[in-house]
Amino acid sequence: MRRVVVTGLGLVTPLGADVETVWANILASKSGAGPITKFDTTGQKCLIACEVKPADHEYGFDAGKRVDHKIQRQVDPFIVFGIDAAGQALEDAGLTDMSEEDKLMAGCSIGSGIGGLPGIESESLVLAEKGPGRVSPHFVHGRLINLISGQVSIKYGLKGPNHAVVTACSTGAHSIGDAARMIRDGDADIMLAGGAESTVCPIGIAGFAQARALNCSYNDRPEQASRPYDKDRDGFVMGEGAGVLVLEEYEHAKARGAKIYCEVIGYGLSGDAYHVTAPHPDGDGAYRSMQMALKKAGMTPADIDYINAHGTSTMADTIELGAVRRLFGDAIGNVSMSSTKSAIGHLLGGAGAVESIFCILALRDQIVPPTLNLDNPDEGCEGVDLVPHVARKREVRAVLNNSFGFGGTNASLVMRKID
């Protein structure tokens, strides 16, 4: 069977716009949260977010580095973040100058949960105020979710599968899992896989706040607002950014002497069939998703050393933990499980990809990232290592990443070190 390995990584997050800076900040327990600066929040219930920082910030994002000026003007920020992260991943993998033959077998699976909401909002206002003749001719293709994959394929000449997942907050994980299958099935040798999101805009913040999903009670203490598993958690903090991985067929990577981070060995998917926003109270969907990923990997829970949890800082945190406890049984005593959403917020469609990259770096560096703000663990957290406050060195042989989304969609990925 064709095996799938990871050979390149790219990140744009509220804690930095390159992999090593982000990882250093995560391990240093920094928070990317702050007051919203992108728009006037007057009248909003939620006043905070984890924004990607401007270029002049210590760990800001310079869009001009990899994205053409004209494209920056025409497309929503989620596409700009995605193009940049994909470029980083290709550079990291040493694949910026592929042969024509390789390009035919290289594709993209980079999705988004929501897509170009800021542009839909602003252009709707143009339509209402100035009429249809003032709507941008780039409105549609500057907002479409599959246009990260589209733009990246055009920029780098990637002629293989061109795919884009839309499964809300599990998008990033599904994107990686689907892309891995395409490689395994022989549709491609190389896939850029991941997700991006940028919905820190008036309608995005208002919409999630109205759905009672956002934290609205820590507006004066933004860095403490994302607190997964803590008794005083009160909703997620919106993040933005992108994560993109280069997935590659193992023999292809070996033949060109590529640096190999890890193997993508298991992928599980399930549906809750329960409620549009709330997870099944028993964590049934999460359980089956993780179970399938482990089965595909040919592993047992005792093989997993680290779980990067979905853990959004909502009531659902303990439901996920309950499902892990049920699946892992006695093996729960060995595993470390943390939520990096405590540091960078919830990147929605980007989350699963960014967090998979953190899992991979945990494998590389044999250290697990912390759950910030976990001052008073909630009931149900007993006996589980949730890595409170500070990162910890430990053996990490294999990792599990969970992502769950509105609509009751679940994805789990298992990755392991490769000899």
Binding site: H69, K70, S136, P137
Partner: protein
């Protein structure tokens, strides 16, 4: 250089992300400045906003160089 020409060139530089020196009066939007047909639609909209003129589709189709745009605006602005 006329005020109209200055303003037209400024819009072209901003929208197409090209260097100001390249935006000469005889530069073709598509052949010299890297625009595509949708970029021209956007440029025409920006000219309409900036100068308060209306550029109907049949006139817009004939605008292919910087000087075509300047000429049309000079002749039609109020």
């Amino acid at each position: 250089m006329s005020d109209t020409a200055d303003r037209v060139k400024k819009i072209v530089v901003e929208h197409l992300g090209v260097e100001a020196e390249k935006v000469t009066e005889d530069a073709s939007f598509i052949d010299d400045l890297g625009a595509d047909s949708l970029d021209i639609v956007e440029l025409v909209m920006a000219f309409e906003e900036e100068f308060g003129v209306e550029i109907p589709d049949d006139a817009a189709e004939k605008i292919s160089t910087v000087s075509d745009a300047i000429k049309y605006i000079e002749e039609n602005k109020g």
